[in-house]
Chain length 193, copies 2
């Protein structure tokens, strides 16, 4: 097990319905030492790539992406979730339909901060069905930027999101891929990497 | 001028209606070196305080608070904005009424991550009327934690938020206090500190 898998085993809480709670260290309370270690690990996994910008989506991706950007010594841009657009023209917009909730959301990034010269590493905390992540890819591609890769902290390997992104040909690195969870036994099965 | 005031003069954009846009370096695209410098400056200003937790609110506070927490070597907790509560009992909740928009929002923090033993430094990017910040103070106080201080990156000194917090007796440190903006001349007047 790597450092993240060990932390999930130690402090993650498994709930019925394939819910994995990591809010004590990742997405409500944040362990800063862990964020730094995550940053270093993504730097290692994307070491050969010429990355000049890290991109994520609010809210819980921001802390993680900031420490990844620190390792690459590049700026970080976070996409905003928006219900309505009155900023048409100045923004890249992706309409994202939720698999789970059946509703639509808009994800927006200012055109000032992304363009054809950019080589982007996309970062997020969780990947399940991957709706938000697909929106980020769509925005990066439509800006003319190159998506150099995607880094996810925890992927739910039994959901579709990871497959979709890998099928599209992107380098997707997930620090932990959860293939199964047993809420009664309190156990998590990780995919060997 | 300090490093932040210099950066505002260099890259901030002043728009009519007392709007100061800092989205190229602080709250959409983030300059990580600047975040680190902000973290160090808050460490200096609250050096005498016994802080064991940094607290902020999603979304744009998260990146800043993470680097402040790094300096103090403590965890960071970010409050979530919520429209509805079905998590009653497990959460501290503050009802926050917006001065500007007349609507109400809920700000929530899990009871697992805040309590009487905590000495909290509250961090946010902007302070204007201070609705969100008052919600954070309310949550921290109702948890029994001690609010050791509040650190703001940019305070709009001509709005009420800063006065309210200082009148309540808290140590509020704002790295830049904007007393006036002139959109025609493109100038910002900072309060001497």
């Amino acid at each position: 097990m790597n450092f993240l898998e060990e932390r999930i085993v130690k402090d993650g809480i498994i709930k019925p319905g394939n819910v994995l709670k990591v809010d004590s260290f990742l997405n409500h309370q944040m362990d800063i030492d862990l964020l730094e270690e995550i940053g270093r690990e993504f730097k290692r996994r994307f070491a050969g790539k010429n990355i000049n910008k890290v991109m994520t989506i609010e809210a819980s991706g921001i802390g993680i992406a900031a420490f990844v950007a620190r390792e690459f010594h590049v700026p970080m841009v976070f996409a905003k979730k928006s219900k309505s657009i009155n900023i048409e023209g100045e923004m890249y917009v992706a309409e994202v339909e939720s698999f789970t909730h059946k509703n639509k959301n808009q994800v927006i990034v200012s055109k000032k901060f992304l363009g054809p010269g950019d080589h982007v590493l996309i970062i997020d905390d969780f990947l399940a069905n991957g709706c938000a992540l697909q929106g980020l890819v769509s925005i990066a591609e439509s800006s003319g930027a190159t998506v150099e890769g995607l880094g996810i902290v925890i992927e739910k390997g039994f959901q579709i999101g990871g497959k979709v992104i890998r099928n599209l040909g992107y380098q997707l690195e997930s620090l932990a891929i959860v293939d199964a969870m047993d809420p009664d036994a309190g156990t998590v099965t990780f995919r060997p990497q």
